[in-house]
Symmetry: C2
Subunit: 221 residues, 2 copies
């Protein structure tokens, strides 16, 4: 079997914008968490569950989608500050777009903002959004081979949330093998197997997020 390599340089660099936004957010005392995954991995469901599990926090959500506002409406119904961002076909958020969304949210008093990125396991990993932490989801039905095929996302993420663990009996997914493959790409990655449906594993994830907010406020991130 032959393997051919096709090259194209990814050009866009927005690192300076991202650093500036990160500094502004730190000064505001707001932890921005960039949530990335394939379509349908359960980003909105996970964020909704965390909003309910963390009532002591002032939480905002930026929902990035190519079209529709179904996700932002779900979030708003929970009482959190929400803004819908339409990317006009763009497959990812960058730092400039994220800064514009933060301005439009008009809330500088939040402890935590989730940026729900466009559903895409590739492009969002290439763009620093200015978030303090990158969190990726991989759902059980997607398969445990994804670290082999989409390595950059695993390399760029501070935490991997394995979602829909309640579906483990119905799919051929080995959490240990998945964790091993992810750690081979990123030895420091934190891994949280969760089911937002049953609540299993959610407490550990919520604690991790609270710890990140405390680190940010005490300036140790």
């Amino acid at each position: 079997m032959k393997i051919i390599e096709l090259n194209e340089t990814v050009t866009a660099s927005n690192d300076r914008d991202a650093e500036a936004l990160r500094l502004q957010l730190r000064r505001a005392g707001t932890l921005l968490v960039n949530v990335m995954s394939s379509p349908g991995s359960g980003k909105t469901t996970l964020i909704s569950r965390l909003i309910r599990d963390l009532p002591m926090l002032r939480i905002g959500v930026m929902e990035a989608d190519i079209e529709s506002d179904v996700d932002a409406k779900r979030i708003e119904a929970l009482g959190a500050a929400a803004i819908q961002v339409h990317t006009s076909g763009m497959c990812h958020m960058d730092a400039g777009m994220t800064a514009a969304a933060w301005e439009a949210l008009e809330r500088k008093d939040l402890d935590l903002i989730f940026l729900e990125n466009v559903g895409n396991l590739i492009c969002p990993a290439e763009y620093d959004t200015g978030a303090a932490k990158n969190l990726m989801l991989l759902s059980v039905p997607e398969g445990d081979d994804k670290p082999l095929k989409y390595p950059l996302m695993f390399q760029k993420s501070d935490a991997l949330v394995i979602t829909k663990t309640d579906a483990l009996p119905y799919f051929n997914f080995d959490p240990e093998q998945c964790a091993e493959r992810a750690r081979k790409l990123n030895p420091a990655i934190r891994i949280f197997p969760v089911s937002a449906k049953t609540g299993e594993g959610m407490e550990e994830l919520a604690h991790w997020i609270i710890g990140q907010i405390q680190s940010l406020k005490y300036n140790c991130l």
Copy 2:
């Protein structure tokens, strides 16, 4: 709730290359089917099943991935002609890349080639690969709201294969609502609910593919 629109023009146009490749493939009597979906929707599993279900056809597969060759190895083990394409981080295939892969496959005598595109529900829909037919997968665990969020993929596809229907009892997925949403975007789209695991619905899909090959050979596509 506010909605902000962020614009960026998608620049790349490769329509001329795609038309040229489509003509060459037609002259060779080869139906090229571009298979697109999110990561983990079951593209390789579906293609593997079709190879087994269509032993009378000469089939080739072009496996496009950012990294790894796990999919091409699975296909090759079935005895089909396979080539692995590494896109070097690119989130889609275009016509030039597809033409290069076809050359590298070195098989001009095939009835059918599946191009398994990069796992991504957004970018591949923006690039004409030169394929005669576009086929997209949406798996039951991904959710029936995907036509609302990723409309272009549904608009560009000739057929929608709803995969993993054996998982319907475990997920909140309404096939009728999904079909209605897809047809609102693309009234002509053919919809095939299948389970590659149990074989349910596979015969209808196989018949559709055979019909497309006959149309191509009799020059009616």
